[in-house]
């Protein structure tokens, strides 16, 4: 009897055990099958091009293909780093990004503080919606708007300037105006979206602090300096560091569309990304374009890793990895 029971239980367990084990296998297999297509797509479109960086070390010719073209070692890199383009591109890319970081963050923090001070919730919503709108527009549209203002013959700015007795300026003919114009365009497009993070931080702040300070007789200025700014500083620090990680990557849309790819303006508007595009499509120098792109990728990767380490040291929650 006793043995029978044990055998029965064992049999039962066995019956239960086998399909369960099978099921786990089947389920795990299903997980892998779900992941398969995305993994293959990433391999094709992200990893296969990585092998293509050998082009940077070759003198690529269409008819010879990637593997048939002649090896030239670091010649492409040497040629580029010794050219005058090199200094100009690095200066423009890093310089313009630095302007965007400083003025972009300053303006979005300011707008966030203003939004926070607004009492009416409805007004806040309306203003926020309006400020975010440019984020939904492409750089092509922004380029049209910039053109409507800056067209030397018909543009609004020149009409206003001349009606006050000033002289019309050839905005698309002189590179010296463009650091300012591009910074304005960049802020115009992004400020509404960028201020959201700071505004959210302020909304999450402990309001009793502000109330207590007010009761103690603190004025608006004191509250901003001693409560609001200290609340935002950690966030500002981290977002700045993360942006520095991308300082060698220019926004292709902004730098290609808004200055309308006008050669006269390259002195201040040509960045690494526009140069890589032109070297490939206009000049047709695949190897040179590839070498510059590869250089940018490597330097960019190192910077992102460093800045990410620094970010994690400041705030372990914020790092990307």
């Amino acid at each position: 009897m006793k043995t029978e029971m044990t055998m029965e239980t064992a049999a039962q367990q066995n019956i239960e055990f086998t399909p369960k084990k099978k099921k786990i296998n089947k389920n795990t297999w299903q997980l892998y099958s779900l992941a398969a297509i995305p993994i293959i797509l990433v391999f094709i479109f992200c990893y296969l091009p990585m092998f293509g960086v050998v082009i940077a070390f070759k003198n690529y010719k269409y008819n010879l293909g990637i593997w048939g073209s002649e090896w030239v070692g670091f010649d492409n890199f040497k040629f580029f780093t010794h050219s005058t383009d090199f200094i100009r591109l690095v200066r423009n890319t890093v310089g313009m990004n630095a302007l965007f970081i400083v003025f972009g963050i300053a303006s979005s923090v300011l707008v966030a503080i203003f939004l926070y001070d607004l009492k009416s919730r409805n007004a806040t919503k309306v203003y926020q919606t309006i400020l975010i709108t440019p984020h939904f527009m492409s750089w092509v549209i922004v380029a049209y708007i910039a053109y409507a203002f800056l067209n030397p013959q018909y543009g609004l700015i020149n009409s206003i300037v001349t009606s006050f007795g000033g002289s019309a300026k050839d905005w698309y003919g002189d590179p010296k105006y463009w650091p300012v114009i591009l910074t304005i365009c960049n802020i115009w497009k992004h400020v509404g979206m960028d201020c959201v993070v700071y505004y959210a931080a302020l909304m999450g702040m402990d309001h009793s602090l502000v109330e207590a300070a007010r009761i103690d007789g603190a004025n608006k200025k004191d509250i901003i300096i001693h409560i609001i700014v200290p609340t935002l500083v950690p966030l500002i620090t981290i977002l700045t560091i993360l942006k520095i990680g991308n300082i060698f990557r220019g926004d292709f849309g902004l730098f290609y569309q808004v200055p309308r790819n006008i050669g006269k303006l390259y002195a201040t508007t040509d960045v690494i990304d526009t140069y890589v595009f032109r070297a490939m499509r206009v000049i047709g120098d695949m190897s040179m374009s590839s070498a510059v792109g590869f250089l940018q990728s490597v330097v960019g990767m190192i910077l992102v890793i460093i800045t990410n380490k620094v970010t994690k040291m400041i705030d372990p929650e914020r790092g990307l990895f």
Partner: protein, 293 residues
Amino acid sequence: MNKRELGGQIALNIVFIILSALIIVPFLLLVAVSITAESDITKYGYQLIPHNLDFSAYMYIFKTPKMILDAYKITFAFSVVKMVLAVLLMSMIAYPLTKREFKGKSAISFYLYFTMLFGGGLVPTYILITQYLHLKNSFWVYVLPGMISPWYVFMIRTFFQGLPYEISEAALIDGADEYQIFARIIIPLSKPVLATVALFMFLGMWNDWNTSMLYITEEHLYSLQYMLQRIMENINMLKEMQKQGVMLTGAIDVPSETMRMAMAVVVAGPALIVFPFFQKYFVKGLTVGSVKG
């Protein structure tokens, strides 16, 4: 509210009204130029308040609307297809990454993450797409590259991890397999994050012009934004030719300045009206918190 506070609020509102004007006036300028008479433009330049209203630019555009309709159709088609496929595929990779029994989880996370750090660059991608995959002048060149964005995958995964584990465990005990749990439980419960990612994808595709510029030479496959970019370039060419004394037949009558701006309005208008309705989701996507690989 005391008098001083009221004064502060009024000042603040004035600041915001000025800021709002700085955003709205540029759009109004496009509209104003598009409905100005061409002769007024040569006389007074672009103006915010037109001297004489003239809708002939729009008449010209809508007389031969094929180009715009084609661009709208193709842009809408690839944006929707990519949005749907991308959200589905990114969820398909994000879901296993939340599972304990999925071996090699961290290796696959790194596999995705590495693509954010380093890429082959423009030239190798271009050669791959044009010479090996033969996607030039194909609808799929809009859809396939950039389908899996690691950033969004990790965002979706973080959301999946926050879902109560008990639900899928209960379903597992009831005999559901992983496909069923994924399709019937995880996806329906994750609508907020999926909607946000979908909108970001859609917006990105709707505003795409790079893809057309690189890979499309057939006009009927141009994306909306690229068509607009071409118009800017083409009218310039037309003007250059007129300057050099090479007159194009019929080209003189075309109100080129106003038409260009009218095209910008036709392209930007619908997006300006529709996207702000989804603002809530875009904002949510930004404040979703830290995303870790």
